[in-house]
Amino acid sequence: MNKPTEWETVIGLEIHAQLATKSKIFSGASTIYGAKPNTQACAVDLGLPGVLPVINEQAILMAIKFGLAIGAEIPERSVFARKNYFYPDLPKGYQISQFELPIVSNGLIEIVIENKKKKIIKITRAHLEEDAGKSNHDQFNGCTGIDLNRAGNPLLEIVSEPDMNNAKEAISYLKKIHSLVRYLEICDGNMQEGSFRCDANVSVKPTQQKELGTRTEIKNLNSFKFIEAAINHEVERQINLIESGKIVTQETRLYDANKNETRSMRSKEEANDYRYFPDPDLLPVLITEEIKKIVRELIPELPDAKRMRYQNELGLSEYDSDNLTANPDIANYFETTMVANGDAKMCANWIMGDLSASLNKENINIKNSPVTAKMLGDMINLIKDKTISGKIAKIVFEAMWNKEGEAISIIENKDLKQVTDLSEIENLIDVIIAENTIQVKQYKNCPADKKQKFISFFIGQIMKKSKGKANPIQANELLKEKLNG
């Protein structure tokens, strides 16, 4: 009998990143999310007769920024084309996109895969295009409602080579691009609002086979969790089909998160025939070396470089650096916190510990944290100069979170200053020793390896009596002196 076939998965991704411009790609209508239906769809977006699209300069600059950040080629001439198809949310009957001469081609991204290995994912191209409107199929009783506010929003479609071999790699690539576009400040990355969406092309083939299998395209993927689930589900479906003697049909499938399944989107046999041709309304865009030079200077420190700097210069662990750099808002917060006290490790711990916990609990973005980076930085400074202990700091943090003021005033008001006065601590120890004569005797008579248990008990008593304000290191030293003396 033959060995069971080993299958290899092949995945390519198309990401649509909405560029963070104020106005649309070809018109002066606003791109703000959540406006009332059709109040941000102007004559150009509606494709009314006699209008002419005019290209938004920012959209071009943002695409160039992305291209430079992935080491891609940016041709001197970039051309817009019409992609023709009929759908009610596409008012002109064609989408302005790019076909030949896209603004970005042949870039690279490095991702981390299993066992911390690195893998290069090739980016075939990234092109500019306008978004379509939104169809609402549920609310209108047998009709579809069309909202054209989104029509004309600038999109950068980022197309990868089929270089990924499982859902985890796909997610790793997606997160990398997500982080990158946010660092570059060209996309807000908001997946719920559809500013960052993804279609996945998935196929399977026997491992030893060279040619790729028939692929399906999964649409409607708007969270990392769903994308991973949808790809895994689709791979399984395709393998089952082939193993039971059937074939995979090339088609578009829609992911249904509620049922965790994909289903065919176009039932009718309707091969797309987009008839691309250069848009006669738009002249080619000229991108000079000077423009590229200016844009290159606007590129901030990117996540990979930042991660390496955190490890090599600040001495943070790989884990800490990964967590702090994935999101530029967190990295900015961290760097501001560091300014106040220079202690990278302590700042990292507080940000990833108490701060993250509080932010998650109340679902607050770090940019809107009630405890600002400066406040946290100053508080950490007060731990370092021994004004408060790490334990008391938690109380101070909570008070700052509840908007009771800055660390220094909270410490004053609540009388939380650490007791570092030796005579005060000595007095406390004397009281504890006098109150616990039995334990003192046991301590003195027990073998050396049991003594630590009693020390912990006495320290506990001291901290309790001082309401946590005694400096534990000083208390520990003094206590041992007294008990052994």
Partner: protein, 95 residues
């Protein structure tokens, strides 16, 4: 090269044009003539000529990223058949 009946029907479908059956033969001839003209042009040697994306050999002017449009929904929706709650209504497009 000639354009046959099935191609005319496909083009009509793609462009959503309703055509009369008896006109199809005529369209076949006319479109064949156009395609032949293209082929005639294709036979010219263009080895040393740079491709042109647009008959006007200039580059595009760009617009500053600024919101200049105001809400004109009411005006625009006067031209349409049916609207509700600000949406344009069309026959249901999903099965």
């Amino acid at each position: 090269m000639s354009i046959d009946k099935s191609e005319v029907e496909k083009i009509a479908w793609l462009t959503r044009l309703a055509i009369d059956k008896e006109d199809i033969a005529n369209y076949c001839n006319e479109l064949t003539d156009i395609v032949n003209l293209m082929e005639q042009m294709n036979s010219v040697d263009t080895t040393d000529i740079a491709p042109l994306a647009h008959p006007i050999n200039l580059f595009s002017r760009l617009r500053i990223d600024k919101v200049t449009e105001t809400d004109q929904r009411e005006n625009f929706q006067e031209n349409t058949v049916e609207t509700k709650d600000g949406y344009y209504l069309v026959p249901k497009v999903i099965d």
